[in-house]
Structure formats: C-alpha cells, structure tokens
Symmetry: C2
Subunit: 408 residues, 2 copies
Amino acid sequence: MLVVQKYGGTSVADAERIRHVAGRIIRRVRQGDQVVAVVSAMGSATDDLIDLALQVAPDPDPRELDMLLSTGEQVSVALLAMALKALGQEAVGLTGQQAGIIAQGRHYQGRISRVEADRVRAELAAGRVPVVAGYWGVNEQQEIFTLGRGASDTTAVALAIALGADLCENCKDVEGIYTADPRIVPTARKLKDIAYEEMLEMATQGAQVMHNRAVELASVYNVPILVTSSMVEAPGTLIRGETELEERNRVRGIAHDLDVAKITVRRVPDRPGIAANIFEPLAEAGISVDTIVQNASEDNLTDLSFTVSRADLRRAEQLMPEICARVGAPEWSSNANLGKVSIVGVGIQTAPGYAARMFRALYDAGINIELISTSEIRLTCIIAADRVHDAVRALHDAFELERPDADV
Amino acid sequence: MLVVQKYGGTSVADAERIRHVAGRIIRRVRQGDQVVAVVSAMGSATDDLIDLALQVAPDPDPRELDMLLSTGEQVSVALLAMALKALGQEAVGLTGQQAGIIAQGRHYQGRISRVEADRVRAELAAGRVPVVAGYWGVNEQQEIFTLGRGASDTTAVALAIALGADLCENCKDVEGIYTADPRIVPTARKLKDIAYEEMLEMATQGAQVMHNRAVELASVYNVPILVTSSMVEAPGTLIRGETELEERNRVRGIAHDLDVAKITVRRVPDRPGIAANIFEPLAEAGISVDTIVQNASEDNLTDLSFTVSRADLRRAEQLMPEICARVGAPEWSSNANLGKVSIVGVGIQTAPGYAARMFRALYDAGINIELISTSEIRLTCIIAADRVHDAVRALHDAFELERPDADV
C-alpha cells in the first residue's frame, strides 16, 4: 500500500533519531509498501529561528519570517534523505516547492490551496522514497508561506489526498490517542480508534496530538490517519470516519487546556447587533475568541462572557473600554487563571445523562464551574486553572474510561 | 549608481552584525545609490551543517548536501531583510531560486550558467533592497546546486553582470588587498588597486581574499570589484582591468600558502606520454595537482615533481606504486611539510632582474628553494613550510613594498 508518514520535530531531533527514522522507513519499504515521508524541523529548531529573528527585529516581517522558518524543515529533509541513502535506500529530499505544495493566504498563516504531486509520483515510480518538507509551500510567484505551527500534519494529509494514499501515519513521541493525558491520569487508556469529529474536539480542547486542520482535511476526503510512535513498535490509534454512530454513544476521552482567560461584559442592553459590536473589533485585532456564553437576560440587560488565550488577553483588555462604550455596557471584568475540561464522544449530547454525570463528578470533587459550552459531541466546563488536573482525573473515573470494554 | 554588495559570513555572524550591515546598506541608499546585497551563511553555519551531515551519513549524498547547505544563506537573507525592514528600509529577501540564479554541473560544485534577473530588477524599480542568497542556484528542474566554498563572491559578480551594475563591492572583515599578509609583515601596505590577473595570482597562491572564479568572471565582463571592510569606514582596494600595463612592471604583492605537499618521481624513462600516465590516475581520483616541474633529463632519465594539497597527499601516495610501475620509475618520495611564496605583478616576467632579486633575497635569508614555477605575472618558490613567514618578510623588504610610491 501507499503510506504517507509524518515525522514530528521530536522524532528527528538529532542525528541518532534521524538514523532511527530512516531504519523505520526502510523496514516498511521492505515489507512491500511505498512510503512518502513528511518531516518537521528538528526539535526546537523553529523556536531557535524565531529567537534569532527577534534578536534582529523586534517585530519580524512575516514574509521574511516565512523565508527563515522554512529552512528548518529543509534541514530535516536533507538529513533524512542522506540517512536513507547511506543505508542503501534510494531516496530524494524535496522542499515544499519541489514537492508541489502550493500555498496562499497571509504569510506565517498560509493555507495549502493544492498539491501538484507529479514530482512526488515520479520519484515513487522510480523506486525512491520522497522526503518532503512539512509546514510550508509556495505560491505561483515562488513566495514562501508557512502554514502555522504544527501544520506539517496538514502537509502530510494534503499529500496523502493528492497521491490517493491508503493511509496517513502520524509518527510521534506518543503511542496514540489516550482517553486522557497519561501524565495526569495514570489509568488513561490508549484508544484503538477514534472518529474524526471526536479527534477534532479532543484537539481543539487541548489534546495537542494532531493539528486540527489536518484532521478536518482528512475527514473531508476520508483519509484514515494512524497516530503511532516513531520510537517503539506498538499499535497506534486510527482516526477514521464514524461507522457505528448509533452504538457508540459514549465518552471517548477527556480533553483539557490550561491556557484560558475569560472576559465578562456586564449589564449589556440586549438588542440586535450587540454580539457583532463586541466581537468585530476583537476579530479585526486578530484575537481568536473561543467559548462565548450569553446569560439569560433580565430587565432587557444581559451578561456576556467569552474566552481567549492568555497570550491575547492583554490586547483584548485594551479594546474593552471602547467596546463597552459602544454597546452601552457599564462594566467588564477579566480572569486570566482559568482552564477547561471536556468530555468528548460521538452522540453524547443526544444521549441522556452525560451532562448531569459530568456536573456531579465536578461537584463531588469540589470544583466550581465558571462557564459551560457544548457541541454535538462535546461538553466543556471552564473552571479554575489550578483544578483542571483534578477535574480530568475525576471525570476519567466517573466515566470509567480505564475499562477496556468501554472501547468498541 | 547601482552597486552589488556582498557580505561574507563573518560580516553577518550574529544579530548585532546583521543590524550593523543593515545600517551600512541604508546609509548607502540614502546617498542615492541602488543597492543589491548578496549574503553568505552566518559565521560557521556552513561548517556546522556539514558536521551535522557527517553525523547522519559518513559520506553524505551531494544532492542532499546541497539541499542542506543552501539553508545557511537563506537564513542570512531572511534576517538581513528583516533587519532592513525593521529600520524602515523597504527590502525583500530572495533565495537563489527567487533571484534567478540558474546553476548546472555537479552537485556541491555547481556553476552559474545564467542569471534571470527580472525579479531583482523589479524589486529595485519598486524601491526595495533585494537581499540575495549567495553560494547557490537552481537548475531548470528546481534542483539546488551549491557553487563551491567561497562562491558567494561569484554570485555577487554574476548578479552585477546581469544587472549591468556599476560596481561589485566585496564587504569583508579585512579592509582590502595588502602587499602581503599584515599578520606576518607589519609594514604590509593596503593597495589602492590591483589588476584582475594580479588578484587571480594572489588568490591562487593563497591570499584567500576573493574567490578565484569571481575574479575571472569579473575580468571577462570587466566589472570592477571593490574589496572593502564591512566593519570600519576606510578606502578599500579596487580590482579592475589593467590600464597601464607598460608602466607597471613591478611587484604588487607577496602571496603565500602553507598547505603544500610534494611528490617526486625519480629516474623516469623520458619518453612521450609519461606525464599523461602519471597525472591521469591522479585526476581520475579527483586529486588536484598544482605546480609540476620536470627536471633536465640525463641518460634519458628524468625526475618529475608535483605538488598537491596536504589533504590529498595520502590518496596520492596510495596511487604512486601503481603509477611508478606503469611508467617504469624505480622510486618516488614525498614531503608533506612545504609551503610556497610568490611575488605577483603584471609584467614581472618580461622585465629583467625580478627572479634574480627574489632568489638572492631568499638565499640571504638562508632559505633553500625546493621547486620554482612561474607564470606571466608570478614567480613562485616552494620552500620548507617553517620558513614561509621569514620568506614573506624577506621578499616584502627586498621589493620595498612598504614604500607608498610603489603603488601607482
């Protein structure tokens, strides 16, 4: 079969690991599979390059930042291709440009518009392992666009789609997707499989295993993704389309995120256009708003809360006086020390009792809920940051996620 | 005027120096000149990347090595462009590919075949400073070719030719070309100008200031090169076409090189084809032979000596037994501890007395001459490595190079 394997920065952090990855690819080729490798920058290389840029310019130009950061993946590509050839495997390193990754949009936050995979196909046909730079592409004018942190996952999925690959493997320093973070919940269990939608909610809610856009893209084209370890031989977790929706109806995992700040606007006159007046200035400032909750209105006044990442809080706070003046709200407040915990599972919102069981478990653990938000397959509570780990453990217990039979 | 400035690795070795170079370029632009900057990799970046490659593969694949090494210049390009923009100067970083540097030949030793300078011209017309990656280009298939160590100089000259620039400036950590190495001869004097041919001999003979191919290319298209300091404001040395050949007839400088090894083949039967039989196997092994001297023959037997770099000596020695057997020479010997010292100046070979004065000066200093070789504008003596510095000083004195009036 044809498999696109993506190796993250930890998997190619030094020469020894690169040689290890090369050996892993060669074993796969000898089993009769065709392999395309997509690689990230080595270890902390991207952060090191950003540090260097900040030494040169306080606010580095995004176009030049893209030119700088794209070198990180190119280094990994060259080294892995060398390692493969040194071990006797025909291989060819390809930059984002050479691999036909066509990108567009804004610098430092580009998007893949299409993949011109002829070169990669030709190299495969010639018996070579194409080693492709993740994280960036070029537009028609040869301008370099990076695709956002973690976007090497997206490069791999986009290539898998363009090549009609049978599988996209995400080879990481973890063995798969767990019911909760194993560092917090010792009884956390590795899942055999998980639906795209569940994975998306796990990732959005802070599970940090797969880049969200990669999962979205894979779900649109129905490309299965195997999350697996590049270090040890062990079965991973298959992310795939939902096949047994009716039977599932269960909590699949607990996600959490410690980077939550909340702003509450109080006593807003409740009339049409309020939300637009509040959120448009934030969007224009490039501030990404996560959860939004508007409380029941009284005397035609309403309280509206929303969450942002801690890094965006200060800029959001600077905009609040003007926003409050515009919507006629007398006051606002903020809280920087929050986190969130979520239960995720296809069908949980249509099945009775999950919300009640979640709230009861948090109450029993003495944890106060600040905000609640829901989606089709997720229930999220915003709570104090210093209680998030307790909450994850309490919920993992409450939903008995350590029990193997919970995994269909 | 339009000037192409090349900044070497030492000039862009860290963030502070990059900001300094940015300021230097901006001052030049404010004087009304158009500037194109060509940059090398930062400090030891290229060596660091080669070290990394050797950790991954004992004999790295040249194609992948080119992909790896080209990132060094791209990092410098991005950082210098950022620094210029941060200081308010419109600028644009360009990879070798974006700048239209078209290369061909063998990987790791590519040659520039042409420059498609439309993009660079358009950026200049738009008021931006193009910052271009030295040292590499791409072929028609987007394959990356590095151009050999030190070849950023060649990129700068090729760009200057393609753009019809008025001047190519080579901005270095030295102030110009000296009559001899100032670390060895305290009275060494900076030259106001030097002819291309003289510079070529100075460089080939070990002066290490300018890349030879850059000087050759500049001489063909008659592009003047100013060698100048990127650190201090001081007049540099202009490398240019010879304009006053008849008047010159003088020694312009003393070059030296400490990396010389000699092999002598003794009592070779002197018949046609001997030289080919000796040097073809060396060439096939990629060993570059420098000076070749064949002594007067006696009894139809001749002694033949040649020099190689010390790094190539062992491989050459391994080939010698077979070579001697082939040409019927009974014995050979080698000496790894040699150096060479040269006097360089247009017309010195046609003018009488220079050779005698050189040999007398070395004799007076008690220095024995192993081999002598000459060109139109150079006289070279191979001597013991540990006497090379003494020889440079003796010759600098003998030809009175410290006297300003020696420099027309």
